[in-house]
Symmetry: C2
Subunit: 391 residues, 2 copies
């Protein structure tokens, strides 16, 4: 029998507070119910062009932007596999699961130069500099490493890459659309965003911006991936009636267009401010409950503004926190791979509101209280409210 | 001003009679409006498992089946790139655009042995036999070549592949779910279906069945594509709570599940009979209007039962037919590449009804009459009605 406070009535009515997929507003869900159209038509070209124009503002770039019918991983493969091949050195910076993925991709397509830090530790810029001085065609960085809740120093690495003439490939999958990313100013040659993160569209798509410098490399490559080939996207995207090389996932395009209009209506400045305030509120709540942040920072690293990774407190299993939260109608994330059980993560990506965050904190307090970690509830929520009240 | 009979009121209210994307029923469109869920949950596993079970009936196979968040092309890349690498011979049979795509994929990943026929000409089995006798790791075939409206001899090629111990990779993108495909009986090691064809789901997904023999090859490969890696799909799909290696396109999974339930409710036998009757009706109408079929057959080849490719009659441009049809609210396809203008194609894939086909024929007659090719209208529709009346 349901107990009072056990508020999971219906799986469809839960609060999704993961670092993606994120809740998709009814307005965006409804957009997907439009009938199918010919994907080689003026109508599709209009949708594609509209998306690309709004994304140019989100990315702060004049570079070409393509929409791929594949997740962020497809975008990452397109980036690495289209610019580097056998014999090309690619420095892959890793301090979390997605950095590791870039490393695996670099190893598959090119000669990987791994630059590994323990997951959650900051990137050492001196070591990046050293590796670049040895020469490399490209360097990969995960801007916002969700697996560890850390924001890596994109500006500094962009400068170093430019100095050493390396193509700068940046996974902005979970930062673009929620936090500040200046593709042109930072010198990001290829930037990737996922649909189901800060843009608050459904999963299954990614968007990739490509600089002139990156295109030069792409055009000189003998082999590239087939489905995720940026040269093919360029060719199709440059047509007078822009299209995609292969049949696009139409409903996801409908959804992306609507989601981008919501982004545009809110305005990127306000949107970034909101994401920052909400993550600050989560961190304040954690502090009030004596819960430690998982990542360790240095002067160039920051806590992520779109996902907060916290250490499971002594005597508490992170997976239990996740599972108990789910029973109470709030879906948060645990740790991945070797971090399973050791951390838990709360996302505040996309169109998440202050109400959602405060509600999540309250449920977290109840869960941790029931698990015997805290004696009384309310301190976390109060701390979060003070932050939100101040903004 | 709109003229009487110029019935294109609204682009969203057109009749989509292309060989994909096909119309998606409101029931399936509504399924996409369900909220997002955690893709590593029991709830997602349930959807995935349900889809795989129904697809096993569609494919008539006991092999493993995976759902890829990428179009049919992604499925084709997964098939070729996961089983064959540098030094492996892959025979690629081509008699249309999609056969050409398999050839390009085989050339990218392995040592391609092209077996090219003019687009629309039948496959010569003697030549297939000769190539196989020279030895090959795999052979690719497009079962239903939509670009040319021809059904290739899968049964015979399956037998030859088995005899010569070659992995038989079959693009069933536009036949599976609408025409008879017996994966196990025919010895198809890897079969691929697209979502937006006979299954009548939205575009952006594919499903791939993989035999034990194919898995042996996959497991011995040093390199495979990353996003479209069948080994990664196998590993994730075999978990007690099945999942996909990377974030799946959730709305497309919701839609696919609903679309597959519609397939199951109709029953594959009835569904195949319907597709065959509707394509026969289109061919009868063409015959009554003295419009020639584009493909040339031999004793092993057939006209496609899911798309009809017709030669543009003397003095008529196929593109004009397509464009005039669109103005009248019916979207058909033209020819691709060098066939542009020379042919036009009418699809009858998915949940297309007799009413849809008859309505399309009527509009085609009006268009051809206005273009001066036929003197009076009605003969085509009458011929089509007679076929449908008989079934």
């Amino acid at each position: 029998m349901k107990k009072c406070g056990d508020n999971k009535m219906d799986l469809e009515d839960t609060l999704l507070m993961m670092p993606g997929p994120v809740p998709v507003t009814p307005r965006v869900l409804r957009a997907m119910s439009k009938p199918m159209i010919n994907h080689r038509s003026a109508e599709f070209a209009g949708i594609y062009t509209d998306c690309r124009q709004i994304l140019a503002d989100v990315f702060q770039t004049k570079n070409d932007i393509f929409l791929l019918s594949g997740s962020g991983t497809a975008g990452m493969e397109a980036a690495v596999g289209s610019v580097a091949g056998s014999g090309d050195k690619v420095i892959a910076i890793e301090n979390g699961k997605f950095g590791q993925r870039f490393k695996d991709l670099a190893a598959l397509y090119a000669d990987v130069v791994p630059l590994e830090f323990e997951w959650g530790l900051p990137v050492d810029l001196e070591m990046v500099k050293e590796k670049l001085e040895e020469g490399a065609k490209a360097i990969t960085l995960v801007h916002n490493e969700t697996s560890a809740g850390i924001m890596n120093p994109a500006v500094e690495i962009g400068k170093l890459a430019k100095k050493h003439d390396a193509i700068f490939i940046m996974d902005g999958v979970t930062s673009l659309g929620g936090d500040e990313v200046k593709v042109d100013e930072w010198g990001v040659d290829i930037a990737i965003v996922g649909s189901q993160k800060c843009l608050a569209a459904p999963p299954g798509m990614s968007a990739v911006s490509v600089s002139e410098k990156a295109f030069e490399a792409i055009n000189s490559m003998k082999k590239r991936p087939y489905y995720n080939d940026l040269k093919a996207y360029k060719k199709s995207g440059d047509k007078p009636r822009p299209e995609t090389p292969y049949t696009p996932a139409l409903p996801l395009f409908y959804a992306m267009q609507e989601a981008l209009h919501i982004v545009k209506e809110e305005g990127m400045e306000v949107r970034i401010k909101r994401h920052r305030a909400l993550s600050e509120a989560v961190r304040a709540a954690a502090g009030a409950m004596n819960i430690e942040m998982f990542p360790q920072l240095n002067e160039y690293s920051k806590y992520s503004n779109t996902v907060t990774a916290m250490k499971a407190p002594a005597g508490v299993d992170g997976e239990d926190v996740k599972n108990d939260m789910k029973k109470r109608g709030v879906i948060i994330a645990g740790g991945q791979e070797h971090l399973k059980g050791k951390i838990f993560r709360i996302g505040n990506m996309g169109n998440v509101t202050a109400r959602d965050v405060l509600s999540t904190i309250q449920q977290l307090e109840i869960v941790l209280s029931k698990q015997g970690y805290i004696d009384s509830v309310g301190a976390g929520a109060e701390a979060a409210m003070r932050v939100i009240d101040r903004v």
